[in-house]
């Protein structure tokens, strides 16, 4: 759990570096969550990693969320979970995407661990990551159609690869 003091430091530093891009800060059950502008995600992530006081050297997770059935400012969002091994603090960044073209810059150039997590978000949600080295489906098979974790995808709709035998 990131302490309140640490949370304040992280938020203050981010707000001073990117005053227009930090849209909302929430703390629910001890988790610091920062809503950021998707245009600046690459700069914010780079700052979070390289700043000596913040030092978020590990990207734990990148995932997509489909807010179709919940009230929110946009349908798709990308959520990043970061951790600092030295400072032992965590942060969650969320960036809402443009509904028509859910595109966001890939953070593979900052943390290598983003690679497959972003591919998974593309596979399951259809979120495009610009400048990703290999944006292909990863979990579903190559002949799969659609993005299964979207809320309008029927959970039982399959795309079998082998014909049923008689």
């Amino acid at each position: 759990m990131t302490s309140n003091v640490e949370q304040k430091v992280i938020v203050k530093k981010l707000k001073s570096m990117f005053p227009e891009s930090i849209l909302e800060v929430t703390d629910f059950r001890g988790d610091l969550q920062i809503l950021v502008d998707r245009e600046k995600i690459l700069e914010i992530c780079r700052y979070l990693k390289t700043d000596k006081e913040l030092n978020f050297n590990m990207l734990l997770d990148v995932c997509g969320v489909d807010y179709l059935q919940m009230n929110s400012q946009a349908r798709f969002a990308v959520v990043y979970h970061m951790y600092s091994l030295n400072k032992k603090h965590r942060v969650r960044l969320k960036a809402f995407l443009n509904d028509d073209t859910p595109v966001v810059e890939s953070v593979c150039s900052i943390w290598k661990s983003a690679n497959w997590f972003e591919r998974e978000a593309y596979d399951l949600f259809g979120i495009q990551f610009k400048n990703h080295p290999n944006l292909k489906r990863i979990l579903t098979h190559p002949n799969f159609h659609g993005h299964p974790l979207r809320k309008d995808y029927d959970s039982t709709k399959r795309h079998p690869q082998v014909e049923r035998r008689k």
Partner: protein, 154 residues
């Protein structure tokens, strides 16, 4: 004389086949861990002659599909089944291989009998090694009788 000879020969061959089934453990998920217990020293499938697990379809005659088969893996399953030489048998181990288990989902095959014929279904999630022994013995009985009826046994 000839008839007696061929029936006795059939009996001998069937005795040989059922007591030396070489399994191909097509293990994908949790059932594969129970399969590992099945071949380990505590349960010991070697008593039934089936401990020589051969991962090559050319060298095995019993395919034990242990675990969930997804649509991505289905072509591999079909290919490996086709590569096995006759006579071959298939045990569908566990709920996922038999009917998709509790994964009524977009990527899970609802039972391997969609694409390959199955001889024995073993229910359980995962089935205890005792259930798998039961299945093996049932299969041995089937080979003895010479029939190919599908059997559901718990």
């Amino acid at each position: 004389m000839e008839n007696i000879f061929t029936t006795q020969l059939d009996k001998l061959i069937s005795w040989g086949q059922r007591n030396s089934l070489w399994p191909l453990p097509f293990g994908t998920a949790c059932c594969a861990i129970e399969f590992m217990s099945f071949v380990s020293s505590h349960y010991d499938v070697a008593r039934f002659g089936a401990e020589v697990v051969r991962f090559s379809p050319r060298q095995s005659d019993l395919m034990i599909v242990a675990g969930t088969i997804t649509d991505k893996l289905a072509p591999a399953l079909k290919k490996i089944y086709d590569q096995m030489c006759e006579p071959k048998w298939v045990i569908s181990m566990g709920a996922c291989a038999s009917s998709g288990g509790f994964y009524r989902a977009y990527h899970v095959m609802q039972g391997i009998d969609e694409i390959i014929p199955v001889d024995v279904y073993v229910p359980g999630c995962p089935p205890a090694p005792e259930s798998l022994f039961d299945a093996l013995l049932k299969l041995q009985e089937m080979i003895k009788k010479g029939g190919r009826e599908k059997v559901l046994r718990g």
